[in-house]
Amino acid sequence: MRKKLLAAAAAVLLAGSLSASAADKLKVGFIYLGPVGDFGWTYQHELARQALVKEFGDKIETTYLENVSEGPDAERSIEQLVRAGNKLIFTTSFGYMDPTLKVAKKYPNVHFEHATGFKRDKNMGTYNGRFYEGRYIQGVIAGKMSKAGVLGYIGSFPIPEVIMGMNATILGAQTVNPNIKVKIIWANTWFDPGKEADAAKALLDQGADVIMQHTDSPAAMQIASERGKLAFGQDSEMIKFGPKTQLTSIIDNWAPYYIRRVQAELDGKWETDDVWDGLKAKMVVMAPYTNMPDDVKKLAQDTEAAIIAGKLFPFKCPIVDQDGKTVECKGGDHLDDGQVLGMNFYVKGIDDKIPGK
């Protein structure tokens, strides 16, 4: 009797869980590095999640965990999403790479999408943006707009992602001003508004008149605005913080990719992938070109169009490093993706040293 009761109870429970899943909602989970209101990196991922909800309505159910620090904590959080029934999970920062891989191996039936990493598996794909394409355009604009011929660049950490951005910027700037100079300050953090503001002040004090950054807060934009100088936004639209300051901004646009991947999952056609898209696929989008004369705007638009058309490669050969050595050209007439992804040298024209190199 007791056994029967238990079995009945189990059957009811099972039926209950079946009916819950019978609603056929695909559960999609997200792991965020910062708060959704960081106005930068995480904010853009959150916008893409909202776009998913709008696109698929009640066919999907999304969950996000914010402020998840990179490291062991991440593994726990990812697993939590798996246990909550999420079938497709986006982990949106480089530092989640190993934790994601570990959880992916443990749950082969769940699909994972990891942003900006390079480790993949049957059920774990990666995606990243070619932000350097946007940086090249910014370089062209900066080269035209800088009266002093000195750009100020706030870096976060000396990793290839940031170094390729600096190189793309200076290569773009050199096309319009061969003698352009760049002053670089490494903040050694992704996010510290106060420090980013101090770095921007130091760069302006030392004669730079166009500020660009690879850190996350709008502090530098705000300082440039206070001083009546020019700046570029980062990750998202920052024109609010410098209506007369922002020239343009590189906007991370993850929504089309997220929609594509969720659609594939719904169709049962999800397969692991390795996507590195740029302006052409609209994964990288430029904010409106503002606070510049029409000829510079035209030049920026033409540059953007040429990159999209595949006529212009920011890292087109020959690329000469700062020691005057020509870099081997593995991609035909431009550097191949591997060379760009592992970029660990400054191009000619950057009068500085990569820290720790």
């Binding site: 910062g34 510290d192 106060g194 101090d198 820290p355």
Partner: protein
């Protein structure tokens, strides 16, 4: 030379929040209470200050909001650590976690908004003096306030009876209690003062330093303030040296990088911490022997009634 003026201005701005928060924590610790929640009180102060300034358009109202928020949060700490004699370290850490959460909640509505930052003093004639004019007579109110606060705390601790009693509570709460002093009440006031200062220090960030609010914008400054108190061996003047030294090396290393001196930036970024620790330790060694920490620091006190 012409760079020196903007550098000094930046140093003062960078040091001020550290100095304000650390001054408050110094008083708290001198009374024998270790409140590790400075970062949490600061970030809530920042969120409330920005909210206040954004809603009313007044920086002063914003600063008051920040102070009140800091005090309210410190009262939670006081209730736990003083009233219920819970472990102070655990309570303080919890307060920081709580503060980060609350500030995100409060600040969510203000992210992306802008306010007019705190005005800088301008005295015709004086502020226009080359070089020293802007440094001495052209700061925002927070900078002057931080110096007044420091001087006031020094006077209070070493020149008043109240200061002597507060230090007595921090060095031996049993003796202070036996002499008839209300140890818990003294500590409550000290904790509240620490909360007010932390709230004000937090308020400085969105009201003057970078006039917008973003979650997590204190970025660890509360922890640096805590460390400064220890390395300054609980003395106000050394605390000022430490805070300004930390700010100075922070700004100077940024300038050194922009000059591309070729020193690895990872080392440069660690310099403020290294320099401050080394200098303050050397000062303490030269002047006094033995431990200078308040003897009853971190010990809970339950009066026998």
């Amino acid at each position: 030379m012409e760079l020196l003026e903007p550098i000094i201005l930046s140093i003062l701005a960078a040091s001020t929040p550290l100095l304000i928060a650390a001054t408050g924590e110094l008083v708290t610790e001198r009374s024998g209470v270790l409140n590790l929640g400075v970062e949490g009180m600061m970030i809530v102060g920042a969120a409330c200050a920005f909210g206040g300034a954004w809603l009313t358009g007044s920086v002063i109202v914003g600063a008051i909001f920040g102070i009140v928020a800091g005090v309210l949060l410190s009262l939670i700490f006081a209730l736990m650590a003083l009233g219920l004699a819970v472990n102070q370290v655990a309570t303080g850490l919890a307060l920081t976690i709580l503060g980060v959460g609350i500030s995100g909640l409060i600040g969510a509505g203000f992210v992306g908004e802008r306010i007019t930052p705190a005005p800088h003093l301008y005295i015709p004639g004086l502020t226009d003096i080359p070089f020293i004019g802007r440094i001495l007579f052209g700061e925002d109110a927070f900078v002057y306030l931080s110096l007044a606060l420091l001087a006031g705390v020094w006077l209070f601790l070493y020149r008043t009876r109240g200061g002597l009693i507060l230090r007595a509570a921090g060095d031996s709460h049993v003796s202070a209690h036996a002499l008839g002093y209300p140890v818990l009440r003294i500590r409550l006031y000290a904790v509240m003062f620490g909360g007010a200062c932390a709230g004000l220090a937090g308020a400085y960030l969105p009201l003057a330093y970078t006039p917008f609010f973003i979650p997590g914008m204190t970025a660890g400054r509360g922890w640096i303030a805590l460390a400064l108190v220890v390395f300054a061996s609980w003395r106000p003047l050394r605390l000022a040296i430490g805070a300004y030294l930390f700010g100075a090396v922070t700004i100077l290393q940024l300038h050194a990088q922009a000059f591309s001196l070729g020193i690895p930036s990872q080392f440069m970024s660690s310099l403020p911490y290294l320099a401050t620790v080394i200098v303050l330790v050397l000062i303490s060694r030269a002047r006094t022997g033995g431990s200078t920490a308040p003897a009853a620091l971190g010990n809970t006190f339950v009066p026998d009634r």
